[in-house]
């Protein structure tokens, strides 16, 4: 029921948009709808969908993470330089990458929560520092791609699957991340994150460790950036450009998914659908052979239009500390309950 209602609401706009774009692509190139092609499409979206999921937690908790792109780049370069052609180093380096991811998230989160610096600024600084640091360390270029066995995660898949021929590992990873994210949104942690985006004081006065909850969202976002980096190094290889701009793509995807910038409202599945819609748009532009110089313009118009459409009266404007008083006498379900019965008893 809940799902259906959401689909029909303005917040479900992203699903309509996605469906429209996919249909348009299929009309232009019917082979796109073949299962084999479709699964390749999903494989390609997986890294973006995963960072969108990570960004969702940060945004719904009322913050921004602009450092995701640089973190992806850092992880990609680390994989290239430290794993190299030695398959035996995959697991130690993987562990190192996860530690780095957690560390970046912790630093972001703690600067935001303990030093009270706006997350926009903290993660902007982290974005500059991480990218600069990695470039300094590598002299701007990685040694080379990591071993193929490591890259399989982003590039390969289970072959011989009926209908779709190949089931890319990244699709499985994305499904796992999504499942974990959905589960997380239903846990106490997930509910607290949303409440935090809604009213941080109320959460603090309920005894929650809000600093830790917020920090955790940054850790989650950094971890999804790490996972995305692992998939991308497989999908495309090592390059300092990999990951660039992913923070804006992720934020755009999340907002397209109807999540309110400022927090307190949004659905993780819709955020992921936002990522799919964005990528379907790129694909459509590719298939439609739109002149390459025009693409950004079209993308801009569609983003504005889609966000405008999904901006419902409740979600469109940011809510301030004291939200506008709700209609005091007019809950849609009827009158206010007054004079409870036990008065007389």
């Amino acid at each position: 029921m809940n799902v259906i209602r959401t689909l029909l609401s303005p917040r479900g706009a992203v699903f309509l948009l996605l469906a429209g774009l996919l249909i348009a692509v299929t009309v232009i190139s019917p082979s796109f709808a073949e299962p084999g092609q479709l699964i390749r499409f999903i494989q390609r979206v997986a890294p973006i969908a995963i960072v969108a999921i990570g960004q969702y937690f940060v945004i719904v908790g009322g913050e921004f993470d602009l450092s995701m792109g640089s973190l992806i780049t850092a992880q990609v370069v680390i994989a290239g330089n430290l794993i190299g052609q030695d398959a035996g180093r995959i697991f130690p380096v993987l562990a190192l990458m996860l530690v780095l991811g957690v560390l970046v998230g912790l630093v972001n989160g703690l600067l935001v929560t303990l030093l009270k610096v706006p997350s926009f600024i903290v993660t902007l600084g982290m974005m500059l520092a991480l990218l600069g640091g990695v470039m300094y360390w590598t002299g701007g270029a990685a040694t080379g791609n990591p071993v193929d066995s490591f890259r399989q995660l982003g590039r390969g898949g289970i072959r011989g699957v009926p209908v779709i021929e190949i089931l890319p590992y990244s699709v499985l990873v994305m499904a796992a991340v999504l499942a974990a994210a959905i589960w997380l949104t239903r846990t106490s942690f997930g509910r607290t994150v949303i409440a935090l985006g809604d009213n941080p004081r109320a959460v603090r006065y309920a005894g929650a460790r809000s600093w830790w909850v917020t920090t955790s969202t940054f850790v989650i976002s950094a971890l999804t950036a790490t996972i995305s980096g692992i998939l991308l190094v497989g999908y495309a290889g090592v390059h300092p450009k990999v990951g660039q701009g992913y923070e804006f793509i992720a934020i755009t995807a999340v907002v397209l998914g109807g999540v309110v910038l400022g927090g307190g409202r949004g659905w993780v599945v819709a955020a992921m659908a936002g990522a799919f819609a964005l990528e379907a748009l790129f694909t459509l532009l590719n298939f439609a052979e739109v002149p390459s110089t025009l693409r950004d313009g079209i993308q801009g118009v569609i983003i504005i239009a889609a966000v405008a459409y999904s901006a419902s009266p409740l979600g469109g404007a940011k809510r301030k500390a004291a939200p506008p008083a709700p209609p005091q006498t007019s809950p849609p379900d009827g009158k206010e309950p007054v004079a409870p019965a036990h008065l007389g008893s």
Partner: protein, 512 residues
């Protein structure tokens, strides 16, 4: 533009003059639900008209129609004999019909003067005359007898009472003929209420018609010349104040009489051991706090706004912890340095500002009610979730369901969600800071009933209230605070005068 009303000639205030405002047969629907029907009211210059009724009776809707916030569906409004229809609050303001809303309509980051003149900043030579704004605001404040508000100060640095005064100043700057006030004293302490009374009487003496909405019946009787009662969106009665008493008024409001406003202690309530013992507690805002809360015992805390009551509550709750003195829970010394530690120790605080600190308004009833348990006692979460329907039932929460967002609930129901949130943590010490502020009589009684039940169940209770009858009616022991210190301890049943004297007058307890 800002001709001072005090310079205006004093009009004849006898009741024979024509009403300055006459609203006839007003009706209003929301989503097909009638929230106001057939309501009429007349306001006369120089007279204070009380408007009472429970939450949902239609008072706010009526005010907002008069103020131009809502558009009426039916009926007529005449102002100064002319039929009017305001489509925006500012139209009403400009016409001379000002409203002081319950929610403060001030901008915290702007100065007092900028707030007073917002939207119609005076200009000189084409530029906004900031200096002129300050001077004129200072003059308006002076006419109200207020010399302690700096017109150039940022509103965020003012106390609630001061902000209230700024609201009234704003209304005055419009040269208002009618000022309606929605629960203006809700956030004020006793002597501040006196100040407001003085201001209102002064306004009335100058011929302004006042529409006064309050849940505090005593104020209605103190101030009002006549009283209109609404119930369920309909007109009930219009009577000169002198012809009514409290009991009769309550009967008119709720449709039946309440024999005892404050429920008495429940059977089986036994004062038990000391739950919380504070000796010499203090921090930057309070000092020398000696306090003992006992199981099954209700300690009332009276004091003026700014006396340090909320600071004491926040110190106990770890939000602004004690930095001096000792604190013991159940006889064992404890250190409460965070809210989390307090909640873990079984302390709950129902904060005075439920929208700012109590609720995440965009979240569901369910998620708000479970917020504290899941934040602190994750292991007890399943049990709490299972217990939730029962608790909500006990509190008689009225909502569409547990997935309804709390922003759509009435104040009383919102407060019940806050109470549910804390009940689910199974607290052993409950601090209630102004638990009945801005909620209707019915909900109030439910809160009182709950406090009694908690006491019976062996919970230690600290009840903080600006409403002296509430403290006196409920507490087994009454403490008075002044200037950050507890200055007096009075027995149950003390008179309001005694408590007030203790809270206002020179310290009794000996601290200098």
């Amino acid at each position: 533009m800002t001709t001072n009303i005090f310079d205006a000639p004093v009009p004849d205030t006898s009741s024979s003059t024509a009403p300055v405002l006459r609203a006839t047969d007003l009706s209003k629907e929301f989503f097909g639900v009638r929230v106001l029907h057939g309501v009429s009211i007349e306001l006369y210059p120089g007279r204070v008209h009380g408007l009472v009724g429970e939450n949902g009776a239609g008072k706010s809707t009526l005010m907002k129609i008069l103020a131009g916030v809502y558009q009426r569906d039916g009926g007529t409004v005449e102002f100064n004999g002319e039929p009017v229809s305001f489509s925006h609050p500012v139209q009403a303001m400009d016409a001379g019909l000002a409203t002081v809303f319950q929610e403060f309509n001030l901008l915290p980051e702007r100065t007092v003067a900028q707030n007073v003149f917002i939207g119609r900043e005076p200009r000189r030579g084409g530029l906004v005359d900031q200096k002129g704004m300050v001077t004129r605001t200072a003059a308006l404040l002076k006419d109200l007898g207020i010399d302690f508000i700096d017109p150039a100060a940022r509103v965020s640095r003012l106390s609630v009472a001061e902000q209230q005064i700024v609201e009234i100043t704003k209304a005055l700057s419009h040269d208002a003929k009618v000022i309606s006030m929605d629960e203006p004293t809700a956030a004020l302490a006793g002597h501040e209420v006196e100040l407001l009374y003085a201001i209102i009487r002064r306004l009335a003496a100058r011929g302004v018609a006042i529409l006064y909405v309050s849940h505090r019946l005593r104020e209605i009787f103190d101030l009002c010349d006549e009283i209109t009662v609404l119930k369920d969106g309909a007109f009930v009665s219009h009577t000169p104040a002198a012809e009514l008493d409290t009991a009769e008024l309550v009967r008119l409001m709720v449709g039946r009489s309440i024999s005892t406003y404050f429920p008495s202690a429940l059977e089986g309530t036994v004062p038990g051991d000391t739950r919380l013992q504070i000796r010499g507690g203090g921090n930057d805002w309070i000092d020398g706090i000696d306090l003992q809360l006992r199981a099954g015992h209700i300690t009332g805390l009276a004091g003026l706004q700014g006396a340090g009551r909320t600071e004491l509550a926040e110190a106990i709750f770890g939000a602004a912890p004690f930095t001096r003195g000792t604190l013991a829970i159940d006889g064992r010394e404890a250190r409460i340095t965070s809210i989390r530690a307090a909640v873990r120790s079984g302390i709950a605080l129902i904060t005075e500002d439920r929208k700012a600190q109590g609720l995440a308004l965009g979240q569901s009833v369910l998620n708000n009610a479970l917020l504290a348990v899941r934040s602190v006692f994750s292991r007890r979460f399943a049990a709490a979730a299972a217990a939730l329907p029962g608790v909500l039932n006990t509190l008689e929460l009225s909502s569409r369901g547990t997935d309804q967002e709390v922003q759509f609930l009435s104040g009383g129901n919102q407060q019940k969600v806050v109470l549910a949130k804390w009940l689910l943590t199974k607290p052993r010490i409950v601090v209630l800071d102004e638990p009945t502020r801005g909620i209707d009589v019915g909900a109030k009684v439910a809160v009182y009933q709950l406090i009694r039940e908690l006491a019976r169940d062996g919970v230690a209770i600290l009840l903080i209230s600006s409403e002296l009858p509430e403290v006196i009616g409920m507490a087994d022991t009454i403490l008075a605070m002044h200037d950050g210190r507890i200055v007096a301890q009075l027995p149950a049943g003390s008179s309001e005068q005694d408590v007030l004297a203790a809270a206002v007058a020179a310290p009794i307890g000996g601290t200098p």
